[in-house]
């Protein structure tokens, strides 16, 4: 609940200028479910089913983390570059 509140406060301040990078950043952050995926795959008594599901989950989510952060960085860099020029 607290996090939601903090989240609302923070996002409201973000200018529309940065909405796309913001979204791709939150996307990367939502990939935090990697923690859950690791726990389920790595559980000591993991069944075959949960290993396979967890495997797919980790793959999907790691793809998200990597591409999410990289692409956000790429976008943000473009904003940054122009600022340097001014």
């Amino acid at each position: 609940m607290l996090a939601t509140f903090v989240g609302l406060e923070i996002i409201r301040k973000v200018s529309p200028l940065l909405h796309t990078p913001l979204m791709s950043l939150t996307n990367a952050i939502s990939a935090i479910s990697v923690v859950g995926a690791i726990l389920i795959t790595g559980a000591a008594h993991a069944t075959m089913l949960s290993k396979v599901l967890g495997f797919i989950a980790i793959t999907a989510v790691v793809t998200n983390i990597v591409s999410g952060f990289l692409i956000t960085d790429r976008m943000v860099k473009m904003f940054k570059k122009r600022e340097g020029k001014k």
Binding site: T4, S33, V34, V61
Partner: protein, 464 residues
């Protein structure tokens, strides 16, 4: 169960996520924000490995390897114009992961159902799986529409809402049953299937113009399902990060909805169903068109120009040509500004990213409320591939489907030029009165080709 040190690592990671969002406030600190996010994620992963008794390393390592090797090319190859699709795809991936983890959790605890499958555990898992699967297929649909694999027009049929509602009610019924009697495992696949189907049905009736909102909503769902996962696994970091994500998606969708003067339910269930009927009645009306030379000379004679970019700019990848035009006009001492409507393009902030890619200084980009007062003083408004966001019908035609939607007051400029591929209506399926005004010149053609021709005309005139 969680060692103290991991608790601390998680707190730091959560704090970094919050800071990272906070730093997204301004372009100056945004890179630091991304960096903070990366460190936070790294800490979270490392903390998990250290703090818990993790087995099956080969599986995890292999998954990481595949994920990384797929993720990097995606990030670098994807052109900036395809960012909305990528975002939808990544929502789909994230949601799928959440849903699968939920499923795995459910089955894993099955053997000791009586002790481990209490309502406290099952309810979050159910929510997680529902939102996860729903967002998965929904995002895939959204991506299909953005990529134009699927028709952008809303797909509607009779009793659509009734069908959707029934499906949802059944899913809900099964969910309740699963919470009460968690040993009924056979219900679980049905539940998952219903969620998948529901995701498809939810998105197909939504038109291309509403995609920014939809993406924001899906963003929020993906976050919420991560949050639910956090409750199921009793993991605070997941709860916090999920909630952050959920709320940011929510806020964005509210902003988008406000920008279009529509409510959530309207976007989700309304489609633009009724308009298609009216459209047939529209008769052929007269308009004026012009070539690049005429457009160039009008632009040259102006002292202030406002450029209104839209989705057409993204499709034609015309952002670099626009930049040339911007440079060329600015050199002549012409005041050039960009007016960005909140829902221009296919996702929030889409236009800003494109123009940023082409190096247009971001202090020349103006938001709707800041620039609307300037249109009456502006000589030329150049609309590039934008349609519904400039339609004066939103202001004065009460019967129009977009009535009340805040628009850019392009029609108040002294001259209006519209670059467009044809006279066809925009994605909302509504004819635009702007095109038939006396002061409007239609410039037909691909945005990129046309702008570059204008640019070519400009230096020639200067030399003469």
């Amino acid at each position: 169960m969680i060692p103290q040190s991991v608790g601390y690592i998680y707190v730091v990671a959560a704090a970094l996520f919050i800071l990272s969002l906070k730093w997204m406030n301004s372009p100056a600190t945004s890179r630091r924000g991304v960096f903070a996010g990366e460190i936070g994620m790294l800490l979270a992963i490392v903390g998990t490995f250290l703090g818990f008794d993790v087995h099956n390393w080969t599986w995890i390592a292999a998954a990481f390897f595949i994920g990384i090797s797929v993720g990097i090319p995606i990030a670098y190859i994807m052109p900036m114009t395809a960012v909305p699709q990528r975002t939808a795809l990544s929502h789909a991936c994230g949601a799928l992961a959440a849903a699968l983890v939920g499923t795995a959790e459910f089955y894993q605890r099955q053997p000791n159902a009586s002790t481990e499958l209490g309502a406290i555990f099952v309810i979050p898992v159910i929510i997680e799986t529902l939102l996860g699967f729903l967002t998965f297929t929904g995002s895939l649909m959204a991506m299909g529409k953005l990529q134009e694999v699927l028709p952008q027009r809303p797909i509607t049929y009779r009793n659509q809402n009734a069908v959707n509602f029934t499906l949802f009610a059944i899913a809900l019924g099964i969910a309740v049953r699963l919470v009460l009697v968690p040993t009924d495992t056979w219900l679980f696949p049905i539940f998952a299937g219903l969620a998948l189907v529901f995701g498809v049905l939810l998105i197909i009736p939504i038109g291309g113009a509403d995609m920014p909102t939809v993406i924001a909503i899906l963003n929020s769902y993906a976050g919420l399902s991560a949050c639910a996962m956090g409750f199921a696994l009793d993991n605070k970091l997941l709860i916090i990060a999920g909630a952050l994500d959920g709320s940011s998606g929510l806020i964005l969708s509210i902003i988008m909805c406000r920008a279009m003067n529509r409510s959530f339910t309207n976007v989700l269930f309304g489609a633009f169903g009724q308009i298609q009927v009216k459209q047939g009645a529209a008769e052929q009306r007269a308009y004026r068109s012009a070539g690049p030379e005429e457009a160039a000379s009008i632009l040259e004679a102006a002292t202030s120009v406002i450029i209104v970019p839209g989705y057409g700019l993204a499709v034609a990848q015309a952002q670099h040509k626009i930049r040339e035009l911007f440079d060329s006009l600015t050199r002549r001492g012409i005041d050039v500004k960009f007016a960005i409507h909140p829902v221009a393009g296919r996702m929030p902030g889409h236009m800003n990213v494109l123009l940023a890619e082409a190096d247009v200084p971001y202090d020349r980009l103006y938001e709707m409320d800041d620039i609307n007062g300037e249109f009456p003083q502006c000589d030329v408004a150049l609309v590039i591939g934008a349609n519904d966001v400039t339609n004066p019908a939103a202001r004065n035609d009460k019967t129009s489907a977009i009535y009340g939607m805040p628009i850019l007051d392009v029609d108040k400029a002294r001259t209006v030029m519209v670059i467009k591929r044809s006279m066809s209506p925009g994605f909302a399926g509504i004819d635009n009165d702007l095109y038939y005004m006396d002061k409007t010149l239609m410039l037909f053609g691909d945005a990129k080709a046309f702008v570059s021709e204008i640019v070519k005309e400009l230096p020639a005139k200067a030399a003469a």
